[in-house]
Structure formats: structure tokens, C-alpha cells
């Protein structure tokens, strides 16, 4: 009996645990805005930067003129201003379109059901939540490390059930940097905001300030 209860308690505890993101420094309450902004900065932006870096590294090897399953390049280097690639190397944002907008600056756009965000995956396609975003990434440093350093500007919208939607943006832009040995971006500076609307009316506003390896959330429930 005691063993059974103990085992069930352990299982319940494990089920309730969730892994923190890269920049976990806050244990604030599970406000929707905070949760979404954390997902934005720990999942969505790194996915975009990974897709971009994979494409740039691929470009380095001189195979940019080849179309294959992961990169549809049109035969133009991604470092050429105006070049546009479709990248499938990151599964969560498969088919993301990357366009070189200036020297060392790229714009990424994608629309679909972004899986790290919550939602019901069992529903029909028409009921899935649609997320649409544009990320502009400016390369700050291209040092010989596992990742480059980036300045990221983001605009995202997400539509959900019962008339709920949200708009997320960065202001000021997020700066992602990494140390020499790290395999992930281990520092983020800047701010991200979220507006939650129901039937077009704003009902909640939140802002997350990132300070290196910690963050702080401010909420204004309307």
C-alpha cells in the first residue's frame, strides 16, 4: 500500500515537472503572457537562428547552387542581398523562408502550427492554432564558436479558440550571445511584449525584460 502510494506520488511529481528554458531565472506564476514570451525566446527565436545558421554554414561549403530536401536556394548564396531560401532543416519551422535583406541581416517568415506553444494536436486541421511570425536577425559577431551572436527583431501573431489571439513583439530588440564553449545561446538581453485580445479587444498586456541569464515579467491585466 505504502509502496503503491509512493510510486504514484513519484509519477505524479514527475508528470508535473517541466523543463526550464535557456534563460530560466524566474519562478513567477504561470501567467499566459509570461509563458508565451518564455516559449518565444527559448524556443521560437533559437529555432529561427538555428535554421539561419544551418543555412549559412551550408552556404559556406559552396553547395549553395544545389537544391535538396533541406534547402531550396534557387542557386543564389544566402549571403547575397535579396537572395531567398526555403529552409527545412529545423522541423518545428519546416519551410521557413529566409531572405537576405542587407549585408549580415536576414528576414525569416513562417506561418503554421508552431508545436512548442500549447494547443490541441488531436483536432482537425482547421481548428489548429495558426501562428505567423517575422524575425529579422542581424549578425553581430561571426566568431569561431558553436553559434554566432545575433540581434533579433520579432513580430508574431497567434490565433486561438474562443476568439482569443495574441500579438508578440520585441522592443528593444533581443540580443542573443553565447560563450565560447556553449552549444546554446546562453545570454539574452532586451525585451519582448505580448498583447492578448479576445474578439479583437485587448484584455491583457505583458512585458518580459531579459537581462543576460535572467528575466523579469511585468503584467497589466486590463
Amino acid at each position: 500500500m505504502k509502496k503503491t502510494v509512493a510510486i504514484l506520488a513519484v509519477i505524479s511529481f514527475l508528470c508535473s515537472c517541466s523543463q526550464d528554458g535557456y534563460f530560466s531565472g524566474s519562478n513567477a506564476s504561470f501567467a499566459a503572457g509570461e509563458h508565451y514570451l518564455v516559449l518565444l525566446t527559448t524556443d521560437l527565436v533559437p529555432d529561427c537562428l538555428n535554421a539561419l545558421e544551418y543555412a549559412l554554414n551550408y552556404d559556406y561549403y559552396g553547395y549553395y547552387d544545389k537544391d535538396n530536401d533541406q534547402y531550396i536556394s534557387g542557386g543564389v548564396s544566402l549571403r547575397t542581398v535579396g537572395a531567398e531560401w526555403e529552409v527545412n532543416s529545423v522541423k518545428a519551422i519546416e519551410g521557413v523562408k529566409i531572405k537576405s535583406t542587407a549585408i549580415n541581416e536576414w528576414s525569416l517568415s513562417w506561418k503554421g502550427d508552431y508545436r512548442p506553444f500549447p494547443g490541441d494536436r488531436n483536432y482537425d486541421e482547421k481548428d489548429r492554432y495558426v501562428m505567423e511570425f517575422t524575425v529579422t536577425a542581424e549578425m553581430i559577431s561571426e566568431a569561431s564558436r558553436n553559434h554566432f551572436d545575433w540581434k533579433v527583431k520579432l513580430n508574431a501573431t497567434r490565433k486561438e479558440r474562443k476568439g482569443y489571439a495574441c500579438t508578440m513583439a520585441t522592443a528593444p530588440d533581443l540580443v542573443y550571445t553565447t560563450s565560447t564553449k556553449s552549444y546554446i545561446w546562453d545570454s539574452c538581453d532586451g525585451s519582448a511584449t505580448i498583447d492578448v485580445t479576445k474578439d479583437g479587444n485587448v484584455i491583457d498586456f505583458g512585458r518580459m525584460d531579459y537581462m543576460g541569464q535572467s528575466h523579469r515579467y511585468f503584467r497589466d491585466l486590463l
Binding site: 504514484l8 490541441d120 488531436n122 486561438e160 479558440r161 482569443y164 492578448v196
Partner: protein
């Protein structure tokens, strides 16, 4: 498909088609974390915006259940039977913006449970057993001014464990606990029941 196969197995057992040597009739009282106040719609969209801003429900007590069972023993080790029970649950609807209770929800349900047991210890003094139950039920939920809704329940207990102590030749006390999965509500649950049993 799997659910249908399991249901047929349990139903087959519950009809007592196997040879048997003695029977057992029991009355029980217990609790079950199959929180009846949580209806499936609140689990199908975990963590999305609506679930953060729409009123949500939380239970105020472990739903009690009362019922009776009948087990036909098959030789010394196996038993198969059914139980019928009645349960209630209550919860409150909370507004996340103000954290205030909007209304109280009451749920009543009836349950029918084909069950099998494997006695790994059995003697004159009592028995210890493992088993498996398939819980089928119907629940009615009263939401006050919001109206009423109904739902069916289909849950499989995968880890029932219990023991019985015979006080006399014909009467004993038992306690059993189980853990399982609610297929319709898609959630895990645990339960505990105790009562008196008669060796027929």
C-alpha cells in the same frame, strides 16, 4: 479496438463462464481521484489562452463512491465478477482574473465495473490479491444557473491491489486500491475502497 477487446474480456469474465468453487459479496465505500468535475473539454487545450483567461474548475473534495460487488471464484487463484456503485463530486468554478468562485458544480454518477482478481495469497484468515477493473459509467453534472451536462466514463484500472481479512467463516473486511486511466477524460486516476465482504 483495444478498448473493445478489453471490454469483451472483462464482460466474459464477469458473466462467470468459468468453473467456480465459492462466491463473494461485498459492500464498499471509498474515494476516487477520477475527478468528475473535470470534464474533458478542459483538458483538451492545455495551457492555451482560453484556459488561462476563461473560468476554470477545481475540486473541493475527493469524490466519494459507495457500492457493492459480486465475485465468483474460479478455483483457488482467480476470481471474476462485477460491481455497481454510485458516486458524487463537487467543485467550484473560479474566475482567474479575480480568483473568486462563480458557482458550485455538483456531479452524480453511476458506475458498472467488470473486474477480475488474482489471489496470490489465500487462506482461512484472508487473502491478498491483484486484479484489473474496467469502469464504465454515466455522470450528470449540475452547474447551477449554467445548466446541466452529461458524460460517459470508460476507465481501466491497471493496478488494483487489495487484501481481505476474514473475521468469521462467512464475513470479512477488505481494503483495495487501484490506479488507472480514464480513456474519455484522458487522465490518470487513483482510488481506494474498503468495506465488508461475505463469503457465500
Amino acid at each position: 479496438m483495444k478498448q473493445s477487446a478489453l471490454f469483451l474480456i472483462f464482460l466474459f469474465c464477469s458473466l462467470g463462464v468459468f468453473a467456480q468453487t465459492s462466491n463473494e459479496l461485498g459492500f464498499f465505500f471509498g474515494g476516487n481521484s477520477l475527478r468528475a468535475s473535470y470534464f474533458p473539454e478542459y483538458y483538451s487545450h492545455p495551457g492555451d489562452l482560453a484556459s488561462q483567461y476563461e473560468p476554470y474548475f477545481k475540486d473541493t473534495s475527493v469524490p466519494p463512491v459507495i457500492g457493492m460487488y459480486y465475485i465468483r471464484n474460479i478455483g483457488r487463484r482467480l476470481g471474476a465478477g462485477v460491481s455497481a456503485s454510485f458516486g458524487t463530486a463537487s467543485g467550484v468554478c473560479v474566475d482567474p482574473a479575480t480568483n473568486k468562485t462563480l458557482y458550485t458544480r455538483n456531479v452524480r454518477g453511476v458506475y458498472f465495473t467488470p473486474r477480475i482478481r488474482y489471489y496470490y495469497m489465500k487462506g482461512r484468515a484472508g487473502a491478498m490479491f491483484l486484479g484489473s477493473n474496467l469502469l464504465l459509467g454515466f455522470e450528470r453534472q449540475d452547474n447551477g444557473a449554467e445548466g446541466s451536462v452529461s458524460r460517459n466514463i470508460c476507465a481501466l484500472s491497471i493496478l488494483p491491489y487489495g487484501f481481505k481479512i476474514n473475521l468469521r467463516e462467512y464475513i470479512g473486511l477488505f481494503l483495495e486500491t487501484d490506479a488507472g486511466f480514464d480513456f474519455i477524460g484522458t487522465k490518470l486516476f487513483v482510488g481506494i475502497r474498503g468495506g465488508v465482504s461475505f463469503n457465500l
